[in-house]
Amino acid sequence: MVLKIDSITLKRSNKILFENFSVNVNKSQIIILTGDNGVGKSSLLEAISGVLKVCEGQINISKDIKKIFYLGHENCLKDELSVYDNLRVWCEVARKKVIDNQIHDGLNYFNISKLVNQPIKKLSQGQKRRVALTKLFFTDSKLILLDEPIAGLDKKSEYNFSKLVLKKKRTGKTIILTSHKDLGFKNQNIVDLNRFSKKTNKNTKFDTWENL
């Protein structure tokens, strides 16, 4: 077992997001966290990564996992630096020995190799997200946490991202991601956080497009 979440309660700004949430995650699993906005998907990823403390319960991560890869809502890219410099600086801080060709391969995978010398501030949101996702190419972390990774991506990039996630899964990595879209992975495990949420009123009937 890679990750064991045992009856946790998560709070944000003194409001309980959800309580008594438990899940076990095994090696090479893809877990997709779904739920309404503000239900606590990002907070759960932050709690797993260790930056957000849980109020009750425990999150146990296997001792085999030394490092966690986390990509949040923000792309963690410096506007004034070029695409190449951003990735180079990240690789150094993440203690990854990456040669230039690998960086070019990563960028090529997401069709942004032409932008290698462009400063980040000149890129569109989708291009910035693709640069951030390129970091996934270099990581050897066994647990990968991705918060809305496909936000702002076009269809082709979404497809490339899905392929990369499956490749990571095949190499024994565990991926936990949040998404409002179905990425269509085979054997994916969907966890609907609405079921545990304090915000969602279970008695309320929500309008659907069909009812309108």
Partner: protein
């Protein structure tokens, strides 16, 4: 130690790539100093009397205005959180930024200040004392400015109010720094002033690290 080295390396690379900010800071220091000096008109004696105080005041403003680039961008683009998840402690992050700030903001000013004085007075007789006092006090000023910035990262609206709370803490350092040159003018060795400036560093360092760590941990949540 390796973590600290990697972080300092990162901060240096970011600062070198963003060299315009450092240049602007030096430019601000030079122009402000000249404007202050020129405002005295032809009263050359008065300029000599107050020159070190002017250098100190302008240094303080340069530090206050330039530290935000070090924390603000890391907070906004999520890098602060990313560094924590990559296994770097808040204390390591703060120390790496402090060192980089001192190197890219304070050190150029310490080097340039005697040149500015030289351009006005020729050989300024108290250059040595001024340089030593700036050298000893600048880390404490950086620490306080840094602490203020960490406290203010999230406070968008009340930034001026909170800044006013931090500014009084600069005053004692400013007083003992400026009076070191005054003591030298009287013909004494200002060693006591230097010891007090080192003492301020000993107080501000743990304070900044402890409160800075608490704030950064809170910010990342």
């Amino acid at each position: 130690m390796m973590n600290l080295f990697l972080l300092i390396n990162r901060e240096f690379k970011l600062s070198i790539k963003n060299f315009k900010s450092a240049l602007f800071n030096i430019f601000f220091f030079v122009i402000s100093s000249f404007i202050f000096f020129l405002s005295f008109g032809s009263e050359f004696e008065a300029i000599i009397e107050f020159s070190h105080g002017i250098i100190w005041s302008v240094l303080l403003f340069s530090l206050i205005f330039s530290v935000d680039q070090f924390y603000d961008s890391d907070f906004k683009d999520g890098s602060l959180k990313e560094l924590k998840i990559l296994g770097y402690s808040s204390v390591e992050i703060i120390i790496s930024k402090l060192f980089t700030m001192w190197f890219f903001i304070a050190l150029p000013i310490i080097i340039i200040a005697p040149l500015i004085l030289y351009s006005f007075f020729g050989v300024y007789p108290y250059n040595k004392t001024l340089i030593i006092s700036l050298f000893l006090a600048s880390p404490s000023l950086i620490l306080l400015a840094s602490l203020g910035e960490i406290l203010l990262i999230r406070a968008r609206k009340n930034k001026i109010m909170l800044m006013l709370i931090i500014i009084p803490f600069y005053i004692p350092i400013l007083i003992f720094g400026v009076s070191a040159v005054d003591v030298a003018k009287l013909g004494f060795i200002p060693d006591k002033n230097f010891i007090i400036l080192v003492g301020f560093f000993m107080i501000t360092l743990p304070l900044t690290l402890v409160f800075g760590k608490l704030c950064i941990d809170q910010i990342c949540e």
